[in-house]
């Protein structure tokens, strides 16, 4: 009977305690797996969303994105200059204000109102109706459409509130071209979008302002960002990677830290508990171990038996922890997504192969370390004294 088979028989000899030990490892392993998913999950998800938007460089006036900072003046000229760079494929200006939308006879609804200029690349996806094609047209997100009880083709009154908010622009009538999905909408986000010119019209301002400029590179975002920075040293060009890096430093760092803390606590917890489980189990079998040594089992063999038991408990439990962890992750993700302003399509727990590898590595190390003390017990077991004690007791 090989070492693994012997260890398996040792486990199944006490099915209740072995099952509980394995289930305990599964629960702890599930939590560990989730913390590993959480450590990078938000960043991966955010990066994914930024990439899905289609833009890979963003040009802003300050060091932070998104964040406070002066508008980009004469954004159309700026966009045209950037579009002329060989490393740039297309450029879009984006401005965000707020507006009250109202259908005739209905309640007004305050929405985030985007104005997009430059190329025809749109940071939204039309799901019903059509995209903006004419003047004074807008698209709504589904929630705003539901609140307004509006459908494509309906007319809405738009009263915009635009920075510097020192004037009260008149209401304008817009037509709803379609219902669109905005990647960064939270469940309760009310949103609408139109062209940059039409937003300026609604604001009763000159066209040309933008919060930032979004760029589609010609294939190399780094090169495009560098070229833009060289062309406009007073502005900051950030690739998606850099933008996510900023978010990680500012807003997302908490989840990384808590995942590190909880991963450490979880591994320590598992290590302690498996060590205790194995140690108690070994202490209850010292007579048997001494007898095995007496009949010729080597020190190495009995030590390996203990190690294999640990590996089996942690291995089986670790395997179970993956589907359990996945289910747990869905639950925890659902809890965290209830935070305000979290986009519907953003997730906190995102699978990546690296998390699986780290999980396996940590559990493997736990199995080995947890077995160290009980292995030491059997390695140093005084055979004769133990046999004598067993007989006397």
């Amino acid at each position: 009977m090989n070492v693994l088979g012997f260890a398996w028989r040792s486990l199944v000899r006490q099915p209740a305690r072995s099952t509980l030990g394995i289930l305990g490892v599964a629960a702890v392993g599930a939590l560990l797996f989730d913390m590993l998913l959480l450590s990078q999950g938000l960043l991966l998800s955010m990066r994914g969303l930024l990439d899905r938007m289609g833009f890979d460089v963003r040009v802003v006036s300050s060091d932070q994105f998104p964040g406070p900072g002066p508008d980009l003046d004469d954004a159309q000229t700026l966009a045209a200059q950037i579009a002329g760079l060989p490393s740039v494929r297309s450029v879009v200006t984006i401005r965000s204000e707020s507006a009250d939308l109202q259908r005739a006879g209905g309640e007004s609804v305050r929405v985030t109102f985007l104005g997009v200029g430059g190329s025809t690349v749109r940071p939204w996806t039309v799901v019903s109706g059509r995209d903006i094609a004419a003047d004074r047209e807008l698209v709504l997100n589904a929630y705003a459409a539901e609140e307004l009880d509006a459908a494509p083709g309906d007319a809405v009154l738009v009263k915009a509130f635009c920075f510097p908010e020192d004037t009260a622009p008149p209401q304008q009538t817009f037509r709803i071209a379609g219902i669109a999905e905005f990647l960064f909408d939270a469940p309760d986000t009310l949103g609408a979008a139109t062209t940059a010119d039409d937003l300026a019209l609604a604001c009763a301002q000159e066209a040309g302002k933008a919060d930032f400029v979004a760029v589609v590179s010609a294939g190399d975002p780094e090169a495009a960002a560098a070229a833009i920075s060289a062309q406009h040293p007073d502005l900051r060009a950030m690739t998606n990677e850099q933008a996510v890096g900023q978010l990680q430093q500012r807003g997302f760092t908490y989840f990384r830290q808590i995942s590190t803390v909880l991963s450490t606590v979880t591994v320590s917890f598992a290590l302690l508990l498996i060590t205790v489980l194995l140690t108690v189990s070994v202490n209850q079998r010292l007579g048997e171990v001494a007898a095995l040594r007496a009949i010729g089992f080597s020190q190495r063999r009995v030590v390996l038996d203990v190690l294999c038991e640990s590996v089996l408990i942690v291995g089986i439990g670790g395997g179970l922890s993956l589907p359990l962890g996945w289910l747990l992750a869905q639950w925890l993700d659902g809890i965290l997504k209830r935070m305000p302003n979290i986009p519907v399509q953003l997730h906190f727990f995102v699978f990546e192969p690296n998390a699986l590898a780290v999980h396996a590595l940590l559990l493997g190390a736990t199995a080995i370390l947890a077995a160290v003390y009980p292995m030491r017990i059997v390695a140093r077991l005084p055979i004769a004294a133990t046999l004598r004690n067993e007989t006397v007791s």
Partner: protein, 282 residues
Amino acid sequence: MKRRTFLLALSTTLIVAFSSAQTPEPPSILVSRQLAETEGLAEGDVVRLALDAAGAGARPFRIAGVYEPTPDPMRLGTVPREVRMHLPDLLALTSDDDAPTGAEHVARINIALADPANAHAFARSVNGRAPGVFARRAAATGSASTFVVLERFHLAIAVVTIVAATVFLLALTIMLVDERRETVGVLRLIGLPAPRILLQVLLEGLLIASAGALFGLALAWVSEGLINRFFQWRYNTALIFVQVTPRVAALCVAIAVPLGASATLAASWALMRRGALRLARR
């Protein structure tokens, strides 16, 4: 809605200078501890603040003191490089000569009511009387609900940890109770009733669970200090990250002690279901 701040998002323009006895006393400001540390500022220094990176329109201010910013969990990771100044000084620094009301523009007005219970009604009244102004209760949504969600998240983690701990606890108590199988069998054989033995086991379980809970609290108290110190150093903040309050301690004990005692009882009850003779036999 766009929001703009005019101050130390543009803080790269700080220039330290000393005033001469002939120039008028510059207005006083307070700087955050973090700003003072990174820029080497001290009380009494005169600095120049400007709105743009080139330093155009910079004005001198004297540092009257250094303050510890109220920790803002929502801005974790951001080192608060902040300055506090009197409102007229801020308006004078930031006013736009082209805007008729430039010297009177503020981003928001915070109001402390005599009766906070009237906040909702007061906000509604202001919204009705002053169009273009948006009044709302301070603690309605936003950051408060973020922390409600985080609290739920932490609670979920705690629940999973407790479940895992309970499973392990059961495994351990089964093993420990099994060690005393023969003793229990002999006691049953000599006539002690099962409830009597279970009571003894329960008392032992309570004792062990109580000792374990107290030890756990001591460990939590030590960890609290270590975790807070680490994160306060890491994020250069005075924020408290972990706090073991009496309520938390009481809750932990209220969960741990019954769980520990119950696990011992459950393991013993399972054992007691076997016949006394079978228990006493080796």
